[in-house]
Amino acid sequence: MKLKFRRGWIAAALLLAQGGAAEAHIVAARLGDFYMGALHPFTDLQDVILWTATGVLAGSLGASRGRWLILVFPLGLLVGLPLGRIFGAASAGLADAAMMLAIGLMLAAATRIPTSALCAISFGLAVMRGAANGADLGPDTDRVLFAAGLACVGYTIITLTMALTVVFRGTESDGSAPWRTIAVRALGGWIAAIGLMMASIVLAS
């Protein structure tokens, strides 16, 4: 009896360990296109890196300059989304790489760009990435729901990344360690390096 009990436990533990994600219902039904819009950027590394880089850049410039992006970035995504049908996803690779390189270099050099330039860069980037996300839409997709999902996740990612960067860097008055500034700049160097690699891959292909 004791042996059977142990075997039962082992079998139950194995079954639990082997279980995968349920992936049930929500994406394919009713408000599914909203969730599709919210999840779509996470399926593309360009979105993940560029959105994060923009948030970190805004955060590194301080809350007073960066807070404009909370409005500007989702707006850019919404403007870019319909353009995806016209331009498609083609030839966006080099522009993405150039953006990655530029933002990375600005972070690495700790450039203090004005608020207007920050807004212009992030708006341009959001339009580009909005178009790239829009290019993948099928004819059955509810575009309004997709746009709402995309704008919501754009707002969330930019706000969170920016806030985390502001908190991480701290302020000069609270005596934050200088290594935090160096860490943010090093991250910029890494992002620029990825952009440079990506540009060469696009040019070579």
Binding site: L3, I49, G188, A193, I194, M198
Partner: protein
């Protein structure tokens, strides 16, 4: 061990083995494959690994500004080499220069070589270009190239930071000796790879 216990353990091992998914070894495909290949590439090549760690240690030994300039600029300079590799622009004797990099950096760490920052930066930059070239030239065809780039830059940066962390041992006299021994080991491995690159040993 009792017979019952033996049976339970053997049942568990057999059940675990039978319920494992396929390994999908060797051919790294897609985004996950590219990321995996990029992360592993600098770590699995021992000549790359020791050189990257040595750069970090030497940076820590040199102190400011090298200790903070190197993590910011090194991946970028290495990516320039990666660009040359991806575009198939050849560099002279890449394997030999990579081996020489391990030897030179190992000697620099072992002897606590104090060079002016610009000279040290130029030496490290030249080696970084050659290391990046090797990574770029060996970009796997089936994997997602973007993900490979992310993985390779991240792994290189982390190795570099690991070297800087090891380099902080220089604050203690015993740690200093450990680091010098480590430098000598890196230089020895560099000699081995150099002999291999020149065809002196198989």
């Amino acid at each position: 061990m009792s017979l019952r216990m033996f049976r339970v353990i053997s049942t568990a091992i057999v059940a675990l083995a039978l319920t494992q998914p396929a390994a999908f070894a060797h051919d790294q495909i897609g985004v996950a494959g590219g990321l995996f290949s990029g992360l592993l590439h600098p770590v699995t090549g021992i000549d790359h690994l020791i050189a990257m760690v040595a750069v970090g240690i030497w940076g820590a030994q040199l102190g400011a500004p090298a200790i903070w300039v190197l993590p910011i600029t090194f991946p970028l300079v290495m990516a320039i080499g990666g660009v040359l590799g991806v575009l198939r622009i050849p560099l002279p004797m890449p394997e030999v220069v990579i081996a020489v990099s391990a030897l030179v950096l190992g000697v620099a760490v072992a002897t606590r070589l104090r060079l002016s920052f610009p000279v040290a930066a130029v030496i490290v930059a030249v080696f970084a270009v050659f290391h990046g070239h090797a990574h770029g030239a060996e970009l796997p065809g089936s994997a997602n190239p973007m993900a490979y780039g992310v993985g390779f830059v991240t792994a290189t940066g982390l190795l570099h930071l690991g070297g800087i962390a090891i380099g902080t041992l220089t604050r203690w006299p015993a740690g200093e000796r450990v680091i010098q021994g480590l430098g000598a080991g890196i230089a020895g491995l560099g000699c081995y790879f150099l002999a291999q690159g020149l065809g002196a040993i198989a």
